[in-house]
Amino acid sequence: MNRRDALSRVALLLGGSVIGAEFFLSGCGTGDKKIGQSVDFTADDIAYLDEVAETIIPATDTPGAKAAKVGTFMTVMVKDCYDEKNQKVFLEGMNKLNEASKKKFGGSGFMKITPEQRKELLTEIDKEQKEYGKNKKKEDDVHYFTQMKQLTLLGYFTSEPGATQALRYVPVPGKFEACIPYKKGDKAWAL
């Protein structure tokens, strides 16, 4: 018995169709890997988070978040710097985001959709997290996409390509000049 048959039988036993079974099946059937299972993140987790980060901070005339290895950075930070409660929010969030993709794009998980679709999806989720943040009580969990966005921005702008190419970075300034001219378009200091 293959997996599809098994699920069909389960559906029969339950006397109807399994809600969400199509998405689940299409995921499995096309080799979708499990993500966000634990803070011992896998290569698939990192690849997935790289794409989320790249959608938030894409490559332009300067490198994007993926080139800055922000996916890896996120996994390190979640594992070492998040408490258990926030880790849980993040791990569940990885799956929620993927489910949202499947729901919106006919069963296609985040890794399967196009960059344009990713941007469309994350723009919606970004609005959702912003609204959530406005109404959130102090004891409520933080929104998972707030975490992902914050980690992406932090990781990117403190990465070598982010700090030295997207921003300006001088490791040893050697002097302080209090008031210098600034013209629109000049990059901000990294630190």
Partner: protein, 570 residues
């Protein structure tokens, strides 16, 4: 004196362990004691409870770029678990955390909430300190006598002024000569400069107020080379240890000077258990230590002893040094040891945005800010009816990057790569009155891993501080709004005592041996060859950052001690 002392001392060992002077602690005041005593020709033993930290060599990590640090300089959950108190400190980061104690291994008991920030290593907190360096004024030394809180300082500004000059010249303090009676000028290196918005707010204060000014902060960063130190490279990573020697620390400045005399012996991993006392001669004979590595005790002897183990560290040693002569603690016939514990109260202020100066920016990371010296209760005109003493503000302006950008993608990225609006914040540091009931005592039931009693710390801010805080907040908002800042919001993070890391007062100076521990030369009333010149000696807290005053008091006391020694009085 230790009652479990079972070491058989022969004459040879005694001679080997005998010095002219012993200094307990190697932080900001211990370093100065070592330098002064060594330079005056005394064979000096410096005992440091923590490990050795060698200048530059042991600052590894500070040379790294932020992306080379695994957590991009952020605090981990493990750090928070091991050091729940230390990790709250603004200066605790992925590189500097090695300079903060493990709280689990170094317990103390918070009878009331008290966040005790510590660094147990050679150099102590002089490595991670904030470097703000301000003289006290006559106003501060007269305060207790005038309003009756605490005991009268046995010295006045004129007693300390030459010693401020003396230590400033060596330490290397930058600043402007601002001509303010409540914040005397010193021997300064060139000042740093205010940025455009800071200059604007300073001008606004001058225009809107007759009682206050905003000046450039004075800090122990070397704007010019001082000996072989510096100049400052404007990285703003001072608290990680500076490989350029760009700021004053024991490691960069006083300990090398002491070592250069050939008179210094530095013994790390030496936890001082008690001060040894000869009750016939009424003199200390030395100290007993526990070697933190071998767990063996050992005695060291000297003609004079300087205690510079930090306000609470020194109190611990005194309270732990009990004998028939001093059943309540060494030199504690006044019963003031451990009492009158103070800190500054801070973490309150305001910040706002400024629309303008969009065509200006700055270069370099200035490790210093602006200062608004005290303007309350400095004369009849500025007298408040609701509280005594006062506060000063530190702060600064900058152009942040936008960090809460809306949306995602190319537009977000573009918005985040340019500097945002100018913002400015000022936060107040307020005076904490000396209250006898704010105290540290020994808890013999709760011992640390060395088997030593821990400290119960029972300290709070009271009514005068709480009323002052309201003014600290409101005045901050008013000044920024008058300067044209927008969206001015106030904050009060209400940190508990300890967290300003300006703890003082546990062995105060005073004129009367019945109500104070030390005389006007930082000499114990009860034991003439013991001197205490760390924060423990302070009879009031003023509102200025205190380290410069500890330096001046130490150099002055060392001079007095050596003169007394030469005269045969000790």
């Amino acid at each position: 004196m230790g009652d479990s002392l079972n070491v058989h001392l022969n004459t040879k060992a005694t001679v080997q362990n005998t010095y002219d002077a012993i200094v307990v602690g190697s932080g900001i005041s211990g370093g100065w004691a070592a330098k002064e005593l060594c330079e005056k020709g005394l064979k000096t033993l410096v005992l440091e409870r923590g490990r050795n930290v060698e200048h530059i060599k042991d600052y590894a990590g500070t040379e790294k770029d932020i992306w080379q640090l695994i957590h991009h300089n952020k605090v981990t959950e493990e750090d928070r678990k091991n050091s729940p108190i230390q990790s709250k400190c603004y200066a605790f980061d992925e590189v500097s955390k090695k300079f903060f104690v493990n709280d689990l291994e170094n317990p103390y008991n918070e009878v009331k909430k008290f966040w005790w920030i510590r660094g147990y290593h050679v150099g102590g907190r002089s490595l991670m300190w904030g470097r703000q360096s301000y003289r006290w004024s006559e106003l501060d030394f007269e305060a207790n006598a005038k309003d009756g809180h605490g005991v009268d300082w046995p010295i006045r500004y004129k007693d300390l002024a030459p010693w401020y000059s003396y230590v400033e010249k060596f330490a290397g303090i930058n600043g402007n000569r601002d001509g303010l009676p409540q914040l005397p000028d010193g021997e300064f290196l060139p000042a740093m400069e205010m940025n455009c918005l800071e200059k604007h707010v300073a001008a606004s204060l001058k225009q809107n107020y007759t009682d206050r000014v905003m000046i450039m902060g004075r800090s122990a960063n070397h704007t010019k080379q001082v000996g072989d130190r510096g100049p400052c490279q404007y990285r703003n990573k001072c608290h990680q240890g500076c490989p350029f020697g760009g700021y004053f620390s024991s490691n960069s400045a006083t300990l090398p000077a002491a070592r250069a005399t050939g008179n210094l012996t530095l013994r790390p991993n030496s936890i001082v258990l008690d001060v040894l006392y000869d009750k016939d001669k009424k003199r200390a004979t030395g100290v007993r230590i526990l070697d933190a590595e071998t767990m063996k005790t050992e005695e060291y002897y000297a003609k004079i002893v300087f205690l510079n183990a930090s306000t609470l560290g020194t109190a611990h040693i005194l309270l732990h040094s009990v004998s028939d002569a001093f059943p309540n603690g060494f030199g504690n016939t006044s019963e003031q040891v451990g009492h009158n514990l103070m800190d500054h109260h801070y973490g309150v202020g305001a910040h706002g945005d400024y629309e303008g100066f969009a065509d200006t920016y700055y270069y370099g990371r200035r490790p210093n800010g602006i200062y608004i010296p005290r303007f309350r209760n400095i004369n009849e005109k500025t007298k408040r009816s609701d509280y005594v003493r006062g506060f000063g503000y530190q702060g600064g302006a900058s152009r942040g990057r936008v960090n809460n950008g809306d949306g995602i993608g190319v537009e977000l990225k573009a918005s985040l790569t340019e500097p945002g609006n100018w913002t400015m914040g000022i936060g107040a540091w307020g005076e904490h009155l000396p209250y006898y009931e704010n105290k540290a005592t020994l808890n013999k039931d709760k011992k640390d891993k060395w088997g030593l009693p821990t400290l119960d710390i029972d300290c709070e801010f009271k009514e005068n501080e709480k009323i002052m805080r309201k003014d600290m907040m409101d005045s901050a908002k008013e000044m920024l709004e008058k300067a044209g800042l927008k969206n001015v919001s106030t904050y009060d993070s209400d940190p508990p005592p300890g967290f300003c890391i300006h703890e003082m007062g546990t062995a105060r100076m005073g004129r009367d041996p019945k109500t104070s521990v030390l005389n006007g030369n930082n000499q114990m009333h009860d034991v003439k060859n013991v001197f205490i010149t760390d924060g423990a000696c302070m009879a009031s807290s003023a509102c200025q950052n205190p380290s410069l005053t500890y330096m001046a008091l130490t150099a002055r006391a060392a001079d007095f001690a050596v003169n007394e020694l030469k005269k045969g009085n000790l």
